[in-house]
Amino acid sequence: METFAQAGTMDSVTCPFCGLLCDDLSVERDVAGNLNVAKNGCHKSITFFSRAPQAPSPRVDGRTVELKDAVAKAAKILGNARHPLIAGLGTEVQGMRAVMSLADKAGAALDHMNSNGFMRNIQVVQNSGWQICTLTEVRNRVDLLVIVGTDVVSLFPRFFERVVWNRDSMFDQNTSAREVVYLGGRGIDTSAGVAPDGRKPDVLPCDPEHMPDVMAALRALLAGKKLHATEVGGIAVAELEKLAQRLQTAKYSVIAWAAGALNFPHAELTVQNITELVKTLNKTTRSSGLPLGGNEGEMNANQVSAWISGYPVRTSYARAYPEHDPYHFSTDHLLSSGEADAMLWVSSFNPDRVPPKTDLPTVVFGHAHMKLEQEPAVFIPVGTPGADHNGIMFRSDNVVSLPLDQLRDSALPSLGEVLTAIEQAL
């Protein structure tokens, strides 16, 4: 195996810090294990890789302890709990497999830190399904890209570079002629949507609370309904009619949204209006939805949970078999209702994603740089997948998974190792 004690440059490195999972980075390592993005970085990957290697000790009640003592204490907390919650779930596939095994044994509920957004999509899939595509299809086929309610790039910095303004595409398309429309939202930075030749995107802004009306109106127009209103949410119906017509004449339109950014009540119904109008378009031409997500290992949690339990997260093993409920088993609900009596929190990619405030006995499996306002009963620092140890990660489109490689030596255990030890101690 590679020796990590030497300085060097690694090519084709995969960055796990957003759902795009760009795998073309060059990363330099010095002898101390500091990493530096040398090529194809973005502000997110630079932040991610530049966190210095650290290996703080585990803590119990704020006191430094050995790992085995922290494991024993965590097992005790879990063993005493009647309905523990394992939340956060910022981990890769192998870590998530260990989470599932532990949850089954401990009768725990599972939720991911980004589920408030992701469940909007899940509810749509469970209710009506959808028609979507993956990133390489966008890169080679999109001729009209409609982006709903987000700038995309603050969540996924290299989106336009990677799949919209790419120079080469497979089907003789002049990619710089691609059309971009931002639909909905207010004060959105649309600069990334400017074409390489300087052509500006079309922007149809509206306040977030009007998004449901706007999407419903667009869907109605595409379904052939006549609208009596002349404007919806501040957007002229004539503009929406024009957009509807462009969608109908496009050869392969893509409608993108980031469920986490649609932050208003019952946004799942707005997602459903998007996905149902895509289905309508496909009666005559081709169109795909593009749900954007996958940050903090969101897809890992939901994929692994789905194949092992049958359900995505917000699933509980309290009755010895898995039960799923997008409302009932949310972190917020389980904490506020008192139905959970202990919490395990996982965030191995991101030190800033700290657990929600709670009086429950809490075990945190955190990034080495994590600073906690409230000292948990147990803190166990774990390695960062894709820097400190190997792993596997699912991308935003929930289809492509990529290997994450260890890039440096680390004294930190992986989440999987720690959870397996806890399960054995139960």
Partner: protein, 558 residues
């Protein structure tokens, strides 16, 4: 560790053994001829009066990969009807149409199955397929990598690349996907759908590449053959579910110039257009063609009545059929310039004319194909029915009285359109053992499975003979996996982790230059990251890769 299975009635068609009372020995997971002199027998099972076969092999079952997990995500209500609590031995999950991975492994083993093969591994999604199969306990597994609508193959064909280059790319794909073979789904059609074509007949051109399905089938069947991959090209035909597609299927058989071809879920491709409703059985013509063409094999993809979900790479057909979704929700995807998928829940009803006739067509094919070495027992799980209905299906094949009674209950119009009542054939235990063991192993290329000769893995299933074949096959007395007792009286008694079978055909690695350039130019991932490593399969110490030889078929050793 030496075990002795004493005095069972053995059905081992690979060695021509048809119901012979004999002893079987297994040492450390492998079958041996007899103990060494003075060797102590550690365990003995008295199997007098019991039926002994190799472990069953499902050569086409959707148990792992993106579309299976989409199907799970789509159907929480189905899972709620079949919750599976954990036990001291087994982990929790859910069952029915698309069971969770762990439940899938337990239930296959509890039915006497010791291997299952995922037929639609998208190279771009192969890692997920292996991850899911890696969480499927007890049984062995493997998959067929999907090609035929991937842009690289179509580009190579449009550029008229020579067959050697195609062969290298096919072999590279098998390695990268850790596969046992190659499957083609609606050849060229998934790509055509992305260009807004809604049908693609055998000689119709893809709008962009000007390549026809027939050409794709010819290129790929030849590649698989020339690479020495034991499993013939696994073909999901064009025009699935379309009345009249029997012509397409017959043309497909005629069109591959004698190269071996396996036609999968052929029931869905055996429809005529006769009768008032322009929907009729093409089973007799299909069976006749299979009987005549020795290069052709098929599995049936039997439908059985009830709720299930169809999960397929064929998004062109699935989109066309989405209006039949029950409950009314479905997912279609265009995937990575590689393939696609469509997931449509379905409820087959015995009083629905079309569904009832589909049921009869499947059974007609089973009964009209003469050679059980070339026809295989599948429901295309979960597309025709969940795999847990296999014992019922076996009873339909082995018991004419039962079959005719079931026939009398379906849509009367369908009854009059079917010749099923006039077919007297009943499958024998020997023939069932061929279809589900010896034949399946030979077809897939599992040289050391599906038989009970010396050197074979000790995957063995023991049943109590029962005139009610459904009861008999639902609950084996014993199942041994690699020599370990894993099931007793139809319940798991030990959880093991099976192997992942792969082939590694030789090829010229120079092809990687072209593939890498293609990925760098057009894709969003690097070529090297597409490759599934042994470690991805063996991680966490449960699975392992077993490489099966690429030198043609296993010879009979008896």
């Amino acid at each position: 560790m030496l075990i002795k299975l004493t005095g069972g009635t053995v059905y081992d068609p690979a060695h021509g053994i048809n119901g012979k009372v004999m002893d079987i020995y297994a040492r450390d997971g492998r079958i041996v001829e007899r103990p060494r002199d003075g060797e102590k027998i550690d365990q003995e099972y008295n199997l007098a009066g019991k039926v002994v076969m190799a472990g069953a092999i499902d050569m086409h079952t959707h148990i792992g990969g993106g579309k299976v997990n989409i199907a799970r995500t789509l159907l929480p209500e189905d899972h709620r009807g079949d919750p599976v609590p954990h036990s001291d031995l087994c982990r929790a999950g859910c069952g029915h149409a698309v069971p969770s991975t762990l439940t899938t492994g337990y239930r296959y083993a509890e039915m006497g199955y010791t291997a299952g093969f995922e037929p639609a591994v998208l190279p771009m999604n192969a890692r997920q397929a292996h991850l899911e199969m890696g969480d499927t306990p007890i049984i062995d597994k493997g998959g067929y990598a999907m090609l035929g609508s991937d842009d690289l193959l179509l580009r190579m064909m449009a550029a008229n690349k020579d067959q050697n280059a195609i062969n290298d790319y096919v072999a590279w794909t098998i390695h990268a996907s850790q596969a046992m073979g190659i499957k083609v789904v609606n050849a060229g059609g998934i790509s055509a759908f992305k260009f807004n074509q809604r049908m693609l007949d055998l000689d119709e051109q893809n709008a962009y590449y000007k390549v026809t399905p027939r050409e794709v089938l010819q290129r790929l069947s030849r590649a698989v053959h020339e690479l020495g991959v034991p499993h013939p090209l696994h073909v999901h035909g064009n025009n699935l579910g379309v009345p009249g597609n029997v012509e397409t299927t017959l043309n497909t058989i005629a069109g591959v110039e004698g190269y071996p071809l396996h036609l999968t879920h052929i029931q869905f491709h055996s429809y005529g257009t006769e009768g008032d409703r322009k929907f009729s059985s093409g089973a007799a013509r299909i069976a006749e063609a299979i009987n005549k063409n020795k290069n052709i094999s098929a599995d049936v993809g039997q439908i059985l009545f009830g709720q299930t979900v169809t999960a397929s790479g064929d998004n062109m057909s699935q989109f066309r059929n989405a209006g039949h979704a029950t409950p009314n929700k479905w997912v279609c995807m265009d995937i990575e310039c590689d393939a696609g998928c469509g997931v449509v829940p379905f409820k087959y009803k015995d009083q629905n004319f079309v569904n009832a006739l589909q049921w009869a067509i499947g059974l007609e094919i089973f009964l009209l194909v003469d050679d059980p070495w070339r026809i295989f027992l599948t429901t295309d799980h979960p597309n025709g029915a969940p795999f847990t209905s296999y014992p019922h299906l076996i009873k339909l094949l082995m018991d004419k009285t039962f079959r005719n009674e079931m026939l009398s209950r379906i849509s009367p119009d369908a009854q009059t359109m079917s010749t099923l009542a006039s077919i007297d054939r009943e499958y024998s235990l020997y023939e069932i053992a061929i279809m589900t063991r010896a034949g399946a192993a030979k077809l897939v290329g599992l040289h050391d499975r599906g038989h009970l000769g010396a050197g074979a893995a000790a995957d063995i299933t023991v049943y109590t003979d029962n005139a009610d074949r459904e009861k008999m096959f639902a609950k084996p007395d014993y199942v041994f996996k690699d020599g370990e007792l894993v099931v007793r009286d139809g319940s798991v008694v030990k959880v093991t982790w099976g192997a992942t079978h792969v082939v590694k055909p030789e090829f010229d690695r120079g092809i990687e230059k072209e593939i890498a350039k293609y990925f760098d130019t057009y894709h969003t991932v690097k070529m090297d990251h597409v490759k599934v490593t042994d470690q991805h399969i063996a991680d966490d110490g449960r699975g392992h890769v077993q490489v099966q030889a690429c030198e043609g078929r296993r010879e009979k050793t008896a």
